[in-house]
Structure formats: C-alpha cells, structure tokens
Symmetry: C3
C-alpha cells in the first residue's frame, strides 16, 4: 500500500531556520492553511474593521474569516458587539449583505427574531416548552482599540491585548478614529498565501523599484539599509534623516502627541509595533504631492506635519494615520492561494467629499501601491510552489520585521502544538 | 507528526440527536458526500426521470449521478431500459447529449456498436477470438412506477420498492403519466448540500414568508401548525379545513380516485409518502389563480377539482399531480456544496401549447418557488459551514417530515456502517 | 471510526492486466496524478520545447510542469540551458511571460540579478558576509537532440537517453530543426487525463471515423489492421502499400536519409519509437492536398517526397518531420482532468510567410485533428470516471503501441515503488 505521508507540520515548525523564509508547505498546503485558520485566526485577536463602519445603532458589518461569518453591530446602547452570523434554528445566515442597518435580526427562513444584543425574542411554531433563552445569538469577543475593532473567535481570548490597547489608544487619540468617516473602501484579492501578503507589508526593501507613488512621501532611510554599502552622500542623507526624525518625535511628544516607537513583534500572543514616522517631501501626508488630501484635519489635530503613525498588528493588519486622513488595511485568508486585502480610507466625520477632499487624490497612492504589491505576492506564491524552492535569506538590514513576523507565526504554531 | 483525525462518521451517526438538524460535516464534508453517493445514491431506488421524456423507441435520456452516467432508453419492444453510458472498449461515453434518438448506440471513438437492448453487435479489428457476448452494455436496474422512472445502481436493489410501487401506481393511474407530454423542463443549481434541498422541501414552515405565488393554492393548515398558539379565528379556519379535506378525500375515493394518505418515511430502504391535498382558492391547480392551466385534463380525469396528489420519495424526489398537469422534481447531488434540481411540467399528450395551455401560466408558480427555495438553501448552507454552528431544533408541529427525512438518512448510513 | 482506505497504488500496479486499459484511478485520482508528476515527469527525460523557440542569446521560454516552472534560455555561448524559475531570495518567479529576451534575469521583487548562465551577480542590502556564489539559479538537466529540447528534473537523469539521441539525431539531421523557424504554435487544453491524450496518439484505429483532414495524407494500412477481416481488394491494397513503403525506405536510405524504424517502447527509462512512413495521396506532406505547404524545403532536403518521419518519445511527445515542414507535439499534465497539448509548426528559417508558405494551409490539418482528438479524450475521460467502468481490451492489430505505452508507464511506476 502506498500513500503519501501526512504533512509533518510539527517537524517543520521545529526545523524553521531563523533569518530565512518559511518552508514551502507553510505557504501552499491545505493542511497548514486549515491550521492557520484554527490557530492563528481562531485563537488570536484579529483586526476585523472599524467603528466608523457602523456609526449608528443597528448598523452592522458582516465579516467572513474562512467559514466563520461574524456580524459586527452597534447596539442600542451605542456599544459595538460581535455575533456569529447564524440562526440557532436551522443554521441559516441571518445576513448576507456586507453591511446594512436593522431594527432586529429576523432570519428570512422561518422568521426567528433576535434583538441587537443577540436575545431571541420570537420563534413561532416551537411550542410552549421551547426555551428561547437558550437560543440567543452566539457572541464573539470584541474589543475596540481607538476605533479599531478586534475580535477573537476563541472561547478564551489572549489577555496580553491590554498592553497593545494601551499603546495604540494613546497614539490614535488625536486622530479620533471613533468619530471618523469612511471615505472609501476597496477589497482586493491577492493570488497568494496570506503570509506572503503580510511579509510583503513588513519590509520596504522592494519599495524603490515597485512603488513610485508611495515613494513621494516615504523616505528610503526610514525602513533600514546596509550601512556598509552606502556612499558618502547617502550616509550624509541618512544622518540628516535620523536627526530630523529624532527631533520631530521629540517635538510631537512635547505637544502631547504620543509618538515614541513601541515594538513587541514576538514572544507574545498579541504582537504589534507602532511608530510615528516622518514623511518625505512636504512631510504632510501619504499622497502624490506629500501634502494633505483633506483640509479638515482629523480629531483634535491642528498641525499638518504630524508624519505617519504606523500601527502593525499580528496577524493581519496595518494602519497609517496622518494629520488629515488615516488608512486601515486588513488581511483575510481565503484559501492557501488567495487573500483578501481590505483598504479603508478615513477622514474627519464632518469632512465633505468634493469640498474638503478629492476622493481620487485621497486614494491614489494606495490604490496604486496595493496593485503593485498584489503582483509581487502573486509571483512569489507561484515561485514557492516549486519543489525546487528552498527558504532564502532575509536581509538583516531591511527585512528584520519580516523575520520577526515569521518568527511570531512559528512561535504561535509551536505553542499550539505543544498543548496537544 | 501532526495530522487531522479523519472524520469519524460512525460516531456522528450514532450521536445524532432526534428532533435536531444534522451535525455540520453531514452537510459540508467531502467524505460524507462521497458516502452519500455510494450509500444513499448507490444502493437505493433513485428517481431518474419520466417515461414521458422518451416516448418513442430509440429515445434516450442521459442522467448523471456523481461520476455515474446512465442512459435511459426506450427499446424496440416499447419498454424502458437503463445502461451505464460507457463503451466496453476504452470506456468512452456513448452519448454526451442530454437526450436524443438512436437506431443503435455507436461509440464515436472506434465505432463499437450496441443494440438498444445493450447487445454488442460490432467491434472491428478485435480479431476472430474476441467474444462480443461478454462486452454488452452494463445494465442498471430500472422500474417504472406510474410513469416515474426509478433506477438502482447497486447489484441488488431493495425489494421493499414493491409496496411503494403499489401505493403510487393506483394513485397516479387517473393522471396517466405514461401518456403525458413534457411541456417544460428546467434545471436549477442550488448552492447548498442536497440534504438541505430535501429538508427545505419537507416543510412549509417557511412558505408563508417566502412563497407568495405558491400560497395562492396552498392552505397553511395543510402543513401543520402549533394548536397552542392559534387564535380563535384560526382554530375555526383550521377546523373548516380539516372537515373539507376529509370530505374531499371521501368524495374522491367514492369516484374511484385513490386519495388516502400513505406514509412510510423511515424504518425501510424505499421510503415514501403520498397524500392528495385539497388546495386553496379555486382548488383546481397550483397556478397563480388556483385554476387549471391546461384545458385538456390529464389521463382519464374529468373533474377539475382533484386537489394535488403529493408523492415524496426518498432520497431525491417529489411530485404534484393535479387534474390538469403534474410537476415532477428531481434532486441530484453535484458536490458537497451544489445540487441540481430538475423540474418537469407534464400535461396530457394531446394538449397543444398556445391552445390548451399557456406555458408561462403553467410554469410561473414553481419557477418562482424554486428560485426562492434556492436562496434559502444557499444561505443555510453558508451558515452550517461555520464552526459555531450546532444542530438546532425542528418544530414538532411543522417540521416532523424534515425530522423523518433526516432520521431515514441516518438509519441508512447506520445500516451500511453496521455491515462493514 | 470510518475512513476510506487510501488508494493502494502498489496493488493496482501489480494487478495490471496486459492488453487492457488501466484501472480507473490511474486516470482519475489525485494521488496517481501526484505520483505521475513526481515519478513520470520528475524522473524521466521530458520533451520541453525546441531550440527554434529561442534562436538568439538571451531568448528564453518558460515551461510549467505541475508546480515546477523552468526557464529554457540560450546563453551567451549559444548553448541552451535550463534553470528553475525561482529567485533564491524570497522565491519569486523571475519571469512570468511565456517567452522573452533578457540581458540578465533581474528579480522584480528586490532586484537580485543573475547572468544567463545562472550566476548571481547582484544582491543588495545583504551585507558583506553574504556569499553570492551559493545562491545562483538552480540548474535543470537539459539535452538537445536534433533541436528537440529534453529536460530532466531529477538529480540524476536516466543515461539510456544516449541511445534515443543517437537514433533521433541521425534521422532528424536532414531536417535541421536547430535552424528551423517557428511558423506557428498553438496551446490546447484537453479535458482529460494526460495518459488518455497519449493513448489517443498511439493508435489510428480511431482515425477513419474522426480525422477526415488527416486521412488525406495518411494510409490506413500504415497503422495496423486485422488480416483476418479484410476483403480481397483490401488485401491487395495492403500488399501494395507494404511493397511501396519497403521500396521507399530503401530508396531514402540509399540517398543517405536515415529511415529505418527503431522501436524501444518498453523495458527502459527513455523509451521511444521512430519510423519514416510513406504518405497517402501525393505523398509529400501532411496537408489537405498531401502536397508540400512550404516551397523552401527544410535543412539540406532537396526532394519533396520524403514521407513523414515519426518520432514518439515517452512520456510526452510526438513529432512529424516532412520534407517541407515539421510538427512537434508536447503534452503537459495540468490536473488529473486536464492536459495541455502544445503544437508547434516549423519551417526552414529562411521561409517567408505569404511567399513560401500560407499559414492556414500549413496548419489546417492538425488544427482540425487536435480539436477532434480533444473531443475523443474528453468523452473517454468522462466515461472512465464511472464506477461501472472496467478495463477494456486493446485491439491486437491496431492498438499494440497503446498497450506498449501503458506497459511502459506501469513498469516505471513499478520500478519506483520497488525502490521505496
């Protein structure tokens, strides 16, 4: 009898070589993908969306993570809650639209009816013995951090999220994302594994040749370089950059704008990194001319030159908040070979399109950058499928955050496997 | 070494909770789907089509059930036969069209030639020693019950089909489906598991909110209700319905129209249910105005108000025969997630479209109803995929036939597993 | 616990019945398909393309075999080389176009740069300790036989290819394919297993009823027949054919045109067959009127009536070289159910379209024939999926080469399984 040996994920986890890309099955196999959904997306805090997507009581947003469908809904009390999108009768999905507004959730199959807080209040034809209180909507952990909504599908959610929340809340406070408005949202499917999407985001080694639009506001010195391979001119530029960045952070902090970097990218469940970077050019925003795209500044902000507050959370998000707008990126695995990247542009809630901002100007840089990244992810995914692929070395200067992401990922799988 | 435990179908079968929907893997897993094809569709009598689809010797209909392809063909002797649609030489399919007429089956690959009764009569280049008599078409069990064609792919077919045949033959006799004409046929792919399609058909708890067209001729009291939750007015209506239905059945029986209900939905291989229901409104037919759609009545029928003879067979069909037309529904699994529903409208063989009936009027109710059901099945299938799904309770008043279907299904899997 | 027994390929290999088609799993199962890619396509010499596809230094052709992607490139020294199409850094594919011309291979992700001979010459940001010499492109075995390019993905390639090379080189020499020009190339996806595509090519039992265009230049007596089933007239025609073919081969050999048949279809790794067949009709070329399609004859050829030099290689190619043009066919498995057939028409490198040849006239016969074959393969694949399919007998007169192909295939799997 001949059969393939099942994939030995445990050995692959143990054998991971630091500083190198993952073995191919981590990017390509169905078994690892299923494990990623169970362990990485099933037991960690996952970025799911924004409070700004559901400003009014009854507003909901449907989120799909693998086969799980979750409703994020603003309750009558103004709080956000999350529920599994399943009727407790025959299992029908309560909502199929991506977003909407409801008074109650009425299942369209047999009209079982739930309040916005999940309580089952009507189930006809079930008889007098039927106990409605046992058949409410199943809740999902939800936490709003500065207007960013994180959910956890596990029974018990990691509690080290508190430290992440503390760092992010104070930094996002001036941008007041809870009172921001969604100016635009774009879903893009990248034809590659979700970890390649994340790895691509965690370095700018590729930016120089691929992202001309982004480089209008991005300094090449902000993302690492090999000090042994720069010219005298480059060294002088780098020194100037560091000096300017250091002074900017000190100035912002002096104004009460929390800006100091915090980095906890591994060794914990809820891993993150945040830093307020100075920008290139006019140093105002991530736009084609590096100037603000929205005349009405965010939240309580009064100065245009606030750089870009970068927030990276593991496993699946990154966010850039400037003085005038913020951009939020969210990654959902669709299959071993396909990944959804959702990009949301936020402005002050009172900003008016056409008056305060031009939508094309606001979104141009990242529409282009996302498209360029999708092509890079796709060709990398195609390559790692080859049996001739073997893990390659990360640059110690420009790709350490990629290495940290991969290290965190392997740690999390390892912790899970150690349990079983 | 880490691998998922294979799905433990035996334990899932044993653990089924009566009165509740199935565990998710029954609806979603490939393993169960393969077992369904082998056990449910491979060892039971499956509704495959109608004699009326092949009225003339040489007429054939191709039926695909999973990877099995079967030819239903009317022979020179006027009898229907069924064969596997495979040439005995290299395995090519003899026919690829859905229907047609042949003198002989000639394989288009190397021209091996078979008579309509399956005999191989020509195989050139095979030499003098080749024994054609060992290479005839492989037969499939076939049984016509009142013009409904049932096949069984197993070597030995369940013989309790006799009782089903006896009950259905006498009830269908006045409608004479063997001499009916196919007025229309429609294939619809529902994006859900085939058992959700069947469950949806086995109750009308959902009809009130979903099927406005169907409700023109369907009494809500014919399909069960909670007596403890009706108003005084409703109770009076229900009583009136029961009185009318009882009298109608007695009147029909007195005229020689077999109408008494028969129900054998579990505890046997060939399970079925039949009942002649009175209709709502004008009480003539399942049309928008509840009046007959075809002026030429079926078979030997002379009275318009014959109600609707309902026939349910497990695992995969239901049929409604009225005085003027009949509608036949057939379910074929395509994948764990996709199901073919084939609907056929039959009228008297001499009825002329445009003169005796208007095709749009004839088909309008069920075209709409099928489409509504497909949406309900799809959203239920999407829901049960979630790991948060758990079996929910059926209504004891309106969903007992769903429960019986599921119980029969579990019994049949259980009987198979007990063999191995 | 219930689970399907894994497919017992070893037993299926051992149980193969000579003279009969394969058991269904060889054509339909994912496990066998994966094994085919590993063993048949991973350890044998695979026909991959033609030197004529990359005439100039820097010209490359990308070839995909399963998940493997290979670059065939002409080097600065004029030699062809093959490399895995993967950057050694993060695994991105170096090229995604089917063909092109490069000075160097520059990975578009982070600009690692390789010479045409695979040497890594630039990898920025990797630091002074990084050893470029360990990170060159991974080579693939490549061998040009008379301009036909064969690759082997295994570490050690079968060395019995020498005998195949000797036989083919001398026969192709007059046609000088190395200096031919690609006049046309067509990719066609057949919806069937790759072995059914190959089996279809290895017999002309099906030609009479399916290939009217091809039969203009193909004698039915050249491909085997049952001597016990021919009429007196047919016997006389067959005798005349044999006499003519024997004389033609003798005449060609006398002119220095190697033409004697060589057949090694089993019992070895690198199996092949070659024969110069006389043609029907005008006996010049495989065209609608059986006359040459290109006025400029190939290579050193001066006489139009050179028949058709047939070359069959296992597992995946066949080639027909006439006096005026050659046609090369290449088979790549895409999935258990889908196969790519690539057809390339070659003429003398100096032949000018519109002047020396008409493209439609050149390609008409095989465009039609390929399309007809695709339909036959598709219906056979659909048939063998049925559980009612069982292996059928090959004609001993017209299908012995099919049997030899299947025998070779089973031998190669058997040899592999004996190792493990």
């Amino acid at each position: 009898m001949l059969m393939r040996a099942p994939l030995d994920i445990r050995s692959l986890v143990e054998a991971r070589r630091p500083g190198y890309t993952l073995e191919a099955p981590f990017y390509t196999s169905r078994e690892v993908f299923d494990l990623d959904l169970d362990v990485i997306f099933g037991r960690h805090w996952i970025f799911a969306g924004l409070e700004a997507e559901a400003p009014t009581p009854g507003d909901y947003r449907k989120i799909d993570i693998g086969a799980q469908s979750v409703i994020l809904v603003r309750g009558d009390d103004g709080d956000m809650r999350a529920f599994h999108n399943i009727c407790r009768h025959r299992g029908a999905q309560l909502v199929t639209a991506e977003r909407g507004r409801v008074i109650r959730f009425v299942c369209p199959y047999h009209q079982w009816t739930y309040k916005r807080d999940g309580e089952l209040i009507n189930a006809r034809q079930m008889g007098a013995d039927f106990d409605k209180s046992c058949h409410g909507l199943k809740p999902v952990h939800l936490r709003s951090i500065g207007g960013l909504l994180f959910i956890c599908l596990a029974e018990k959610a990691p509690d080290d999220v508190d430290e992440m929340a503390a760092a992010i809340e104070v930094r996002l406070a001036p941008h007041d994302l809870r009172n921001a408005k969604v100016a635009a949202q774009m879903d893009l499917v990248e034809h590659g594994n979700w970890k390649l999407t994340m790895e691509n985001n965690r370095e700018c080694y590729h930016c120089g040749a691929s992202h001309p639009e982004l480089l209008n506001s991005f300094s090449e010195y902000s993302v690492g370089f090999d000090p042994g391979a720069v010219s005298g001119r480059q060294q002088a530029e780098a020194n100037a950059y560091v000096e300017f960045a250091t002074k900017s952070v000190a100035d912002w902090e002096a104004c009460g704008i929390a800006s100091k970097p915090v980095e906890h990218l591994k060794g914990r469940a809820s891993a993150f990194r945040t830093e307020r970077l100075v920008l290139a050019g006019e140093n105002e925003s991530q736009t084609m001319d590096s100037k603000i795209a929205c005349n009405k500044l965010m939240g309580t902000i009064t100065q245009k030159k606030l750089g870009g507050l970068h927030i990276h959370t593991q496993p699946n998000s990154w966010h850039h908040a400037m003085s005038d707008h913020a951009i939020s990126f969210c990654v959902f695995p669709l299959s071993p070979d396909d990944t959804l990247v959702r990009t949301t542009w936020l402005v002050h809630k009172d900003a008016v399109e056409g008056t305060d901002y031009d939508l094309d100007n606001l979104t141009k840089v990242w529409k282009a950058t996302n498209s360029q990244d999708a092509a890079l992810v796709e060709r990398t995914h195609a390559g790692v499928k080859s049996s001739a692929y073997e893990p390659g070395p990360y640059s110690p200067f420009t790709e350490y955050q990629v290495d940290d992401f991969v290290t965190w990922y392997i740690e999390r799988l390892g912790a899970y496997l150690a349990e079983g």
